[in-house]
Each structure stands twice: as C-alpha cells, then as structure tokens.
C-alpha cells in the first residue's frame, strides 16, 4: 500500500471507530547506514520502517496511537485504540486538528543513496584522519542516507505530502598519547550530496585538529568572572533552553516560563537575531505534527522576542499565536567581528567548544563542565582545559552578548556564529 493510501485508510478507520475529528501522519522511510568503529569500517545496515501517528478527537477528548504496521487489520486496531484512549480521557476545549488548507506537495534531496560513494567517502575520511591527525582515534563514524515519504491527512481535508532524501554524518573522536587521552568530541552534520570530502563538512577538520592538542590539559587558574566565547557546535546547550523549553507549550501552559509576558519585548542584546528555517535545510522538515505546512519563523529580532513556539494545542490553551513551524533548524544572523578579533578582545575567559552541564532549572540557572575548551587570557588562547566549570543564568546570559562573529558554521540543521557572552562565573580546581 502506498503511503497516501495508508493514511486515507487510517482516517476512514478512525472515523468508523467513532472519532469526530481524525488525523494521520504516515511516514515510510528507508535508510542505508555505514558504520566505522575505532578507525575501521565495521558495519553496513539497510533498514526500512513505517511510522503511523493516529489522532482521534471525540467529545473534546483526544487519544493517540503510534504504530509501524500498515496492514488493514493493524490500522483498524490502531484506530480503535486511539478512539478508546480518547473516550477514557477528559474533555479539553483546546484540542483540535488543523483547518482545511490547500493541498501541498514538497520534495527535496536525492531519491536514492549513492552507495558506492558512501563507502568511498568513508574510506577517504578514515585515511585522511589517520594521516593528518595520527594521534586522533575515530571512535565511531556513521554515514547514512535516509529517504522518507510523509503524508499528513486529516478529516478537515488537509493533504500534505513530502519526500526528502538526506545524508547525515556523525564522527566521534578522541586523541591519545601513550596512557593519556583527550576528552571525546563529536559533531553531527546533514547534507544533500556527497560531492565534497566528509572532513570538509561543518567544523569537523578544525575539531579533529583541536583534539590532537587537547591531550594535556589544566584547569583555569582560580575562580573569576569573565567572558566566554561559545562555538557554533556548543551553542544549542544554551539556545535550546529557549527553543525547546521556555518558548514552548509545556512552560507556557504551566505559566513557569521566564518569557511568558515578554512577547514583543527585549529579551536579548540588540545584536541577536534568531529564526527557524526548516524548509530549506537538509536536516529540516516540511510538515508540522499538528497538520500545517512548515514556514520560516522569526524568533528573536535584534534582541526582541517575535514569536513563542506554540503548537496548535498550546496556542488554544494559552490564547497566544500558534507558531508556523515545529521549531528547530535555527539560523542566527552573523555579527561584525571576526572570531580572531573576538578572542583578542577577551581579558580573561574561556573559548567554550563543548559543554557538559546539568539540565538548567526553569529559571535558567545552569552550571557545567567546559570540555574540549580553551583558557583565554589577555586576548590569547593559553591552554586546553580540564576540570573547569562555567555557571550562570541563561536569560541573563543572552542579555549580556558582547559580540557575534562574522564567520558561521552550517551543519545542515543549523547555521550559527560564535557568540561572546560577558559576566560568566568560571571556576577551576
């Protein structure tokens, strides 16, 4: 059965089982995945799967069933379960499905993997790594290609169809000298082609080069308040407090978000402009889980909060505007300084390349360990760090941005510059 036929049958079964409103997201995916472990190709995988997400609304109550079987009998059973779940639930006027909209079809990326090239690129990457960075061990590298066909239908007449092909590459690596090891580092990138070397994706080459120099480390001297320059790979540790928590349904419905009354107000330094652009990125998406075509959305413009990231349910629950996508795929506009100039301007601080931190509290307090990072003093990088902690408050941090770099890194799922934050608590051993 084709994906669209599966979705149509699921809607029919939901309505026949008693749903007053029904939605089905059906995704069929095929993945080819090449793995390397400890610097050697080790495993080739081919997997296929389905994802069916059936939603039933009845008397203002909502039930949901997820499954991966698409035969008629399994669909009937899943539909019945979704309706039974709804009946066992309680009414909530905020439950709804998306209103009718013009049918849309989207497509991007290759239809098939270039299997021969996947192996050749992986072999090339492993050989280059061994030659250029002999002290660095590629603990694991995974190159995969996923082709997915997604169909979202609902009983209001929404018909959204999307197909997407994307390569993803992840590398995990550690440098070793005798008995001494560096901290492990990693990066994940998406691309729609394998035209270039894997080592040329994102910041991979720089990160591996840095690993080789991070075997022998020291803490920062003492405790001080200073600047941190957060790298593009590390930025989500802080930005996701906003994009995954404080601007989302959970905290806004609960009323615990520090930004709940801040729409249209300044929440960050004037230089910060953040948007979410899922449709054009290789690691993006075309359809939102609540039944809309994804659009680009401004989140923060020149430091002013433009949009909450509320779903249809969150929007109806809070009375605030629904966001036109499902978040993620963030782009931060570049600043006016080069990274070199930003480092030169730091009197005492840290170049924060990876952060291992506890989950921030609801008010944004956080602390954690600087990993694969460097101590900066009088405008110069002094030494790689260990046993150094950074702490602060994320909402305050975004109000204390001192500079953004001209350079940015495109990982295929985000485009970020380096950002310099002032007034951070930094402590050594």
């Amino acid at each position: 059965m084709k994906t669209v036929e599966t979705a149509k049958l699921a809607i029919k079964e939901l309505l026949e089982a008693g749903a007053e409103h029904a939605q089905c997201l059906a995704v069929r995916s095929a993945k080819r995945e090449l793995n390397a472990d400890a610097g050697q190709i080790s495993l080739l995988r081919t997997t296929t799967d389905n994802e069916l997400r059936l939603v039933a609304l009845k008397n203002g109550r909502r039930g949901e069933t997820l499954c991966n079987r698409t035969d008629a009998q399994s669909l009937k059973k899943a539909a019945r379960e979704a309706v039974e779940s709804a009946l066992a639930s309680q009414p909530d006027a905020a439950h709804a499905i998306a209103p009718e909209s013009p049918a849309k079809t989207f497509s991007c990326g290759p239809k098939q993997p270039d299997a021969e090239r996947m192996i050749a690129r992986m072999e090339e990457y492993l050989a280059q790594s061994a030659k250029l960075f002999p002290s660095v061990i590629v603990e694991q590298a995974i190159l995969d290609f996923t082709r997915s066909e997604s169909v979202l239908l609902n009983s209001n007449g929404v018909v959204l169809v999307a197909s997407r092909g994307v390569y993803s590459f992840m590398a995990v690596f550690t440098a070793k000298d005798g008995k001494a090891s560096s901290s492990v580092n990693y990066t994940v990138m998406c691309t729609d082609n394998l035209d270039g070397e894997l080592l040329g994706l994102g910041s991979l080459k720089t990160l591996m080069e840095q690993s080789a120099g991070q075997i022998y480390t020291h803490p920062v001297p003492g405790n001080f308040t200073g600047d941190i320059i957060v790298t593009p790979e590390c930025l989500d540790n802080f930005l996701e407090f906003l994009t995954l928590r404080a601007l989302r349904d959970g905290q806004l419905i609960a009323g615990t978000s520090v930004y709940k009354d801040k729409l249209g107000q300044r929440i960050a330094s004037p230089g910060l402009t953040v948007s979410s652009r899922p449709a054009k990125m290789p690691g993006g998406y075309f359809i939102t889980p609540d039944g809309y075509a994804a659009e680009n959305v401004a989140i923060i413009k020149d430091g002013v909060l433009q949009n909450f990231l509320l779903s249809l349910y969150g929007s109806r629950k809070t009375g605030l505007k629904r966001v036109a996508n499902a978040g993620g795929c963030c782009v931060i506009e570049p600043g006016g300084q080069s990274l070199a100039e930003m480092i030169k301007s730091v009197k005492k601080g840290v170049l924060l390349s990876r952060f291992s931190g506890g989950a921030p509290s609801d008010n944004g307090d956080f602390s954690g360990v600087a990993k694969n990072s460097y101590y900066i003093e009088e405008g110069k990088i002094r030494h790689p760090l260990s046993e150094t902690m950074v702490s602060g408050n994320i909402p305050e941090m975004f109000k204390n941005i001192l500079a953004l770099s001209r350079e940015r890194v495109n990982s295929g799922h985000s485009i970020y510059p380096w950002i310099k934050f002032g007034g951070m608590a930094i402590s050594g051993k």
């Binding site: 495993l43 081919t46 079987r69 009946l87 603990e139 492990v184 405790n223 506890g358 990993k371």
Partner: protein
C-alpha cells in the same frame, strides 16, 4: 510465547535473527490537563550477518518467515559487500550460545487505558488539593514492554518479555525564588504489578514537596573541591556514567583512558563495582538480562574489585580482540537496532558505614541526593546535574541547596572514597549511545571529594 519453528534453517553463516516488538504507554497531566495520552507499538524483524570481520544488518517492519528470509539475505549481502571490499579476514567469534524463556508479563489482568488515566488523575487531584500553592505540577505514567525472540546460527533460541512501568511527578513553586523538583517510582514489571493504588505514592509525594520547599529557600553551594557524600542515586550514576562507559570495550578501542588500567589500582580499596546481569544481592535487578542479543548467557562482570580494575565489558567481537569472555552485554533497543556493548545493572557494592556516621564525620561539606542528568567521557571526567542536596555543617545536615553541578575525574574521585554506607538502592534510567537502552544503576552512599559548581 515464541514459535521458533517457522524460522529454523533460515540462518546460513554466522549471524542472528531477531523478531522484536516494543510497546509503550505515555500519559501526562500538566496542571490537570491531559497533554499526552498515547500508546505506541513498533515491531519487526532484523538480521545481522558476520563475514570475514565485517558485519551486515537489515531490518523491516514485517514479521513471519518471508520477512525473516528477506532481512537475512539483505544482511548477508551487506556483510559480503564489505568483506569483499575490505578483505579483512577474521577468526571465529567466542561465546557459547544458550537458550531460554524469560517472560515477565503480568499474571493479573492488564491495566486498561482508563484505569491508568484514572490513576494519574487521582495522583494529580491529591497534589492539587493538598498543595494549592504550587505553581505547576506534572504527573506522568510511562510504560515500556520489550518482547524479543532471538535465533542465532550458533544455536541460541531465546524469548523474553521485559516490562517496565514508571510514575513520575514534577513540582514547581513560584514566589521570589522559584524552584522545581522531580522524582519517579517504579521500574521492572508491568504497571499493575508495580502500582496497586495511587494512595501508596502519597507519602513519597509529601516528601518531594517537603524537599521542594527547603530547596526554594535554599542556597547555592560554594564552588570548588569539597568533601561530600554522594547518595545512592549519585553513586549509581557515577558507577554507570563515569566508570562503566570508560570500560566498554568499543570505547576502550576508541581511546578511553581505562585502556591501560586493567590489573591496576582504579579506586579506593573500599570500592567494588559490578555490572550485574540479572540478580544482585539476592534480588532481581531493575533490568534483568538473562540472554543477550547475541545469544550469550548473562553473567556478572566485576569491573572493580576492592579498588583494582579487573575487566572491560564485551560483545563477542571485542571479546575475541581482547582474548576475554563475553558476559552478555550485547543489547539492542528496537527491532531495527544492532546489538551494542551496553551496561545492564551497574552498581557499587555496599560497605560497612552508617549514613549518620558518614554525615557526622564531615565538618563542612555537602550531601548530594539526586541527579537530573549525567555525562562522562573517555578521560573519565564526569558531570552530574544535582537538583537536590543539603549542606553539612559540623556533622549535621543544614540548609537545602539550589540546582548545582558536580564534576571530577572518576578514577580520582573513587580513589578519594573514605567511607561506604551499608545501605543500597537501585535507580533506573535510559542510557544513550547511538541507541537508548534501559539500565539499572545502584549504590550505597559514598564519602568522597568532588568539584562542586557554585556561584
């Protein structure tokens, strides 16, 4: 119960065939609103083939003999493609296959969706009525059944149904110093076997609320290296994150600092650390693994014995590389996942000290009780988020702490252990390493020196 007969004779060459289904329930009430009410099932067939030192894997969401044949052929083709290209060559993999059935399905009638929703609603109503000053409350029920049928070319025939059920509660208070705190209860077993009545959780919720109030008026700890007691939950996550991962053989080959420590001192002589397969201290562990996903019998791996590092954790391939025996650590999460080297139930064994005696021995330090998350890396440097703890002043517990983070180099921290409590408890969590997997983490309280992230 498994029917192996329809799959017999399909495997040719070294390999495995696994038919698996994961079934889940997720219910969430946020301030009384049902914001999640979902059931899930994901199942299918997968095969893995080993040819001349290369692995091939394939999976499909169907089951039955035809699906099995298809994925077995695809896995073999993938392995052969790599083997022909890499011309690696490799010897036989070690490990004696075993067979068995381990079905932990409930013997009672299964709880219906309505009963589980009613359970969550009753808990939520109790919290709302008794603690109206809370800013927000979340009640969550999460259940996961993992049902696996495994056949290996070596002769293993294994069936398992391993359920787990959890109830989680998160509370937030507002005011001048907002604070939040969570806890969860349950673990191994189906919902009806773990939870008889919401009322039995009321005392735990009352304790959680009491801690939250203390935390709201709490202090930030002083940063730096401090003498501390890590409660059982933190000792367990230390065993898992900071030691367990560094001795997983794939990470050892990837550059872990533990590579050169076998047979050497890795901790205080008070510390013995074990990755239990299924039974510890006379009881079934939170995540019992009797037969792993390579068909190998689950046996305990003693990682540290009285301070000395004894072994790494292996699958069959790494065991061959290191000349060791596989102990049943190869585990896969979904039908579409290949088995990886994973911990099972990793714990520091209890000692002889009483917790009160340990507290009394500290003049100025901290008692850290809960962990929000944890990470460690190849150097064994770790970080744990600590959402609940108290200061210790002159041998007595003092003010509560606001959220903080502790860190250190695990082998150094375990080297500093000077007292180990005589009590022991397990916690359960999901470990991430390409795939998620349920794991048990256990321990007594330990007295040691760690780096505290303060203000």
């Amino acid at each position: 119960m498994a029917d192996f007969s329809k799959y017999e004779g399909l495997l040719a060459g070294e390999g495995e065939l696994r038919i698996q289904e994961n079934r889940g329930t997720d219910i969430r009430l946020l301030n009384g609103n049902i914001v999640a009410n979902a059931s899930s099932s994901g199942g299918g067939t997968s095969a893995r083939a080993y040819r001349d030192g290369c692995w091939g894997f394939a999976s499909a969401p169907e089951t039955g003999a035809a699906a099995a044949k298809s994925v077995i052929n695809a896995a073999a083709e993938n392995a052969q493609l790599l083997a022909a290209r890499l011309k690696r060559g490799a010897g036989k993999l070690p490990g004696l296959p075993v067979s068995g059935t381990h079905d932990f399905s409930t013997k009672k009638p299964r709880r219906t969706r309505r009963e589980m929703l009613d359970f969550a609603r009753e808990l939520d109503a109790y919290i709302a009525e008794k603690y109206p000053d809370l800013k927000s409350r979340m009640v969550r029920i999460y259940a996961l059944d993992m049902e696996k049928t495994l056949l290996t070319s070596g002769g293993a025939r294994a069936y398992s149904m391993t359920p787990r059920a959890l109830v989680m509660v998160s509370l937030s208070c507002g005011g001048a110093a907002p604070a939040d705190l969570s806890d969860w209860w349950g673990g191994f077993g189906e919902f009806g076997d773990r939870f008889s009545s919401p009322k039995r959780l009321y005392p735990q919720i009352d304790r959680l609320y009491g801690h939250l109030l203390c935390k709201a008026s709490g202090i930030y700890p002083q940063g730096g290296i401090r003498e501390c007691i890590l409660g059982p939950e933190l000792a367990g996550i230390l065993a898992h994150e900071a030691i367990g991962h560094t001795v997983e053989a794939d990470l050892v080959l990837g550059g872990s600092v533990a590579a050169d420590k076998i047979g050497k001192k890795a901790a205080s002589p008070l510390v013995t650390l074990v990755d239990f397969a299924h039974t510890a201290l006379g009881k079934t562990c939170p995540v019992p693994v009797y037969i792993d996903d390579e068909g190998i019998e689950g046996r305990d791996a003693v990682i540290i014995e009285e301070g000395m590092l004894k072994t790494f954790l292996h699958n069959r391939e790494s065991a061959a590389h290191f000349g060791a025996e596989p102990m049943g650590n190869a585990r896969a999460y979904q039908f579409s996942d290949e088995p990886l080297i994973r911990m099972r139930n990793t714990a520091i064994l209890p000692g002889k000290s009483a917790l009160e005696e340990m507290t009394a021995s500290i003049d100025d330090g901290y008692y850290f009780m809960k962990s929000s998350n944890g990470q460690a890396d190849s150097t064994s440097e770790f970080m744990f988020g600590v959402p609940l703890g108290y200061e210790i002043k002159k041998g007595k517990l003092g003010r509560a702490l606001r959220d903080t983070t502790i860190s250190g180099v695990a082998f150094d921290v375990l080297g500093s252990v000077s007292m180990v409590s005589d009590e022991f408890c397990w916690t359960e969590g999901m470990c991430g390493k390409k795939q998620p997997i349920p794991v048990g983490m256990g321990g007594p309280a330990i007295k040691c020196r760690v780096n505290v992230g303060g203000r």
